[in-house]
Symmetry: C2
Subunit: 133 residues, 2 copies
């Protein structure tokens, strides 16, 4: 597999990382995400890592890169679903995931993004959430 | 990897299939999904297969199984993101994906689910979408 699918959900993009990222996969993910943010005008990026039992320094750097790139494109990044063991390892490794927010799961991550972004861009939206009852 | 992560989003569950399902992975996915539907009271299951360039008869059967199982648990299943080539192959193979709906992408799939399910279960919801503005 060369590419990780990026799902558009309203104002946000969702990426589920299920396998270890190797070089090309990581590079593709970074460039795909930036292009998707540009194309869709997304205001937030959710990255689900609940399937990962290990996050090493490479992965930590990629997540940081994605956060920084998205920030430049005016989108916030939230990493969600981190396993407790991964959180412990990250701290032990001294990795801080600078520039990205974290949340327990996708729902809370989405809530966080909505709070941070507010409702200042409703007019751009073709999102379904708007009509959800 | 033994398990594909299942993300809860409001009333719905979202699964992104990124790699070919082998036996155990498929069995785990089926049982995990049914348990998640039971635990969360989800009304719909979205399965994103945009990363798959091939859907063979095994995968077709698994998708059908998931659809049937979810139906019994009172949840609808929508397969989203199918690549054009996959649609062609499915028809050439004579596979019909009975019991599952399809939609072009996650947003449209979610819209479809919302239309089918209506708003008869708002009270059960701890979903974030309700407060989305």
């Amino acid at each position: 597999m060369d590419r990780i699918p990026i799902l558009r959900m309203g104002h946000f993009l969702l990426v589920t990382i299920q396998i270890d990222l190797y070089d090309r996969l990581a590079t593709n993910l970074e460039s795909d995400l930036v292009q998707m943010v540009n194309k869709t005008g997304a205001r937030g990026v959710l990255i689900d890592i609940s399937a990962l039992s290990i996050v090493d320094s490479f992965m930590g750097r990629i997540l940081g890169n994605i956060g920084s790139m998205s920030k430049i494109m005016d989108a916030e990044t939230v990493v969600v679903g981190m396993q407790p063991a991964v959180a412990i390892t990250l701290i032990e490794l001294g990795l801080e995931l600078k520039g990205v927010h974290t949340a327990l799961n996708v729902e809370r991550g989405m809530q966080l993004l909505k709070e941070r972004i507010g409702s200042d861009d409703e007019d751009e939206s073709e999102a379904d959430e708007d009509s959800f009852e």
